[in-house]
Amino acid sequence: MLYVYALADRVGDISDLKGVRGESLVLLHVADLVVVAGEMDGTPALSAATLHAQDALIRTLHARAAALLPMQFGTTQPGEGDLVRLLERRDDLGSKLEKVCGCDQMTVRVLAATQQERGTMMPERQDAQAPNDGDELPGTRYLAARRRGAAAAPPLLQGIAEAAATLSRDVRIEPAQLGGVAGTIYHLIERGRADEYRRVIERAAAAVSGVRVVISGPSPPYAFA
């Protein structure tokens, strides 16, 4: 079976690289795409070591390709024919490759500090146990509060994200569903501009009371694949 690592516009020599199980890698040409894959008997176990190994390989491939779309972990196909048929049905991959060409992904996790923000983002348990108002059951009120919280999350994230608008080719914002983290912002930026990006985001976050950001990257454009 084929274990599929990434799609690219073109990749140079990869004979020095190995897959997560130490297998040799192959390049398959499908229309205008190049597929990086490895031959395996089964699929790799889900473990921290395997995830690290796959991420390291994707980063190396990303550095050797102008445009690369990482596959989701665990992507397999029985054989080359099946993979070709699947990819031929996807007419969105070429435009995605164009978009990520020459770009890195930056990730910003936004931590909201105040009780008010926490209550808006993720109501605490006691909210759900408060006395009833009208006919609403506690569970109904809890879910309604969560829905309001999800709706209220974007402005905070949007404001921080917009600070990097001039550096960004694309942005993806995900409000968090867990307490503590208000959400995650993914930016697609030109390669080589990570330091500039960090300064802009840190300045924007410092201007918002009670908010802290954790910035990571540059990394391959996983969130834009």
Partner: protein, 73 residues
């Protein structure tokens, strides 16, 4: 009825500690590799803990994998 006091968890502190730790990169790796990337329309197979093979549709996999990973010590 006696009810043992429940320890209150400061979720922000937990999140901050995790994201500030030397292993913070694993958060990004899990997020990127299990929740992002190109998804092909096909079934995948994952070996979990080298014991079970789980056959799942991709959308279901994301939930299952998240639970498996967070349940480990």
């Amino acid at each position: 009825m006696f009810e043992a006091p429940r320890a209150r968890i400061d979720r922000r502190a937990v999140a901050a500690a995790l994201l500030d730790s030397p292993d913070a990169s694993i958060v990004d790796i899990i997020d990127n590799l299990l929740d992002k990337g190109v998804v092909l329309d096909g079934e995948i197979v994952l070996g979990l803990a080298e014991i079970d093979l789980v056959y799942l549709r991709l959308s279901v996999l994301l939930v299952a994998a998240g639970r498996v990973l967070t349940s480990k010590p």
